[in-house]
Assembly symmetry: C2
Homo-oligomer: 108 residues x 2
Amino acid sequence: MIGSDVIRGYNDTIILYLLLEAPSYGYEISRKIRELSEEKYVIKETTLYSAFTRLERKGYVESFYGDETNGKRRTYYKITESGREYYREKCEEWRVTREVIEKFICKI
Amino acid sequence: MIGSDVIRGYNDTIILYLLLEAPSYGYEISRKIRELSEEKYVIKETTLYSAFTRLERKGYVESFYGDETNGKRRTYYKITESGREYYREKCEEWRVTREVIEKFICKI
DNA sequence: TTTTATTACCACGACAGACATAGTAATTGC
DNA sequence: GCAATTACTATGTCTGTCGTGGTAATAAAA
């Protein structure tokens, strides 16, 4: 039940995290976000797919088609070295952001 | 040096925090954000003033003119009860958001 | 056997928030 | 007298999110 505004700056980071270990595809990523966040964040389909496009345009992921013989064809995404680097930077930025926001939180 | 995307969801909350104790105005709020964040977050003027407009439209703040006899006239903003309530909710949401994001951070 | 649910993806357009740019207006310090 | 600082506003652009709706395949239920 997190609003999209507050997590907005981290959608790309979340997706990249889920690609660190192995390539994946839209539906699986979506499911993993829901599960890992314990239903607290459910990414919208359109948000997810437009994030993939953006990440690919920036060179942080590469796409390829799966070789499924049944079911609809999947588009898989694989994180690039530059994507890993970007992820690391975002993790660093997160620590700073968290500290800053906490200075303005909870005075009630 | 925080990107605007990552703090975007908290601009309103940050402003409301700075109004909890006493009414204030644009330039002062801007300075306090810079100081409290130790220069890590500098809000853009236009972002700030458009936030005031939004907060007032939503009934979270009320504006009035200061009685400065010299200098340019200031527009002061005062937090409303509904603004305080909204601030409290945002603080709660922050805790959830932080926990969720941390599940996707720092696996490198 | 038709319908429904689930998996899987994409196109299009609307909207809101952040920001660049530029302008107005007054005071203080050099 | 001119720059720097204070204080605010108007206008238009850009990006990310999301609503709506469509395509396509399979499995299970009715």
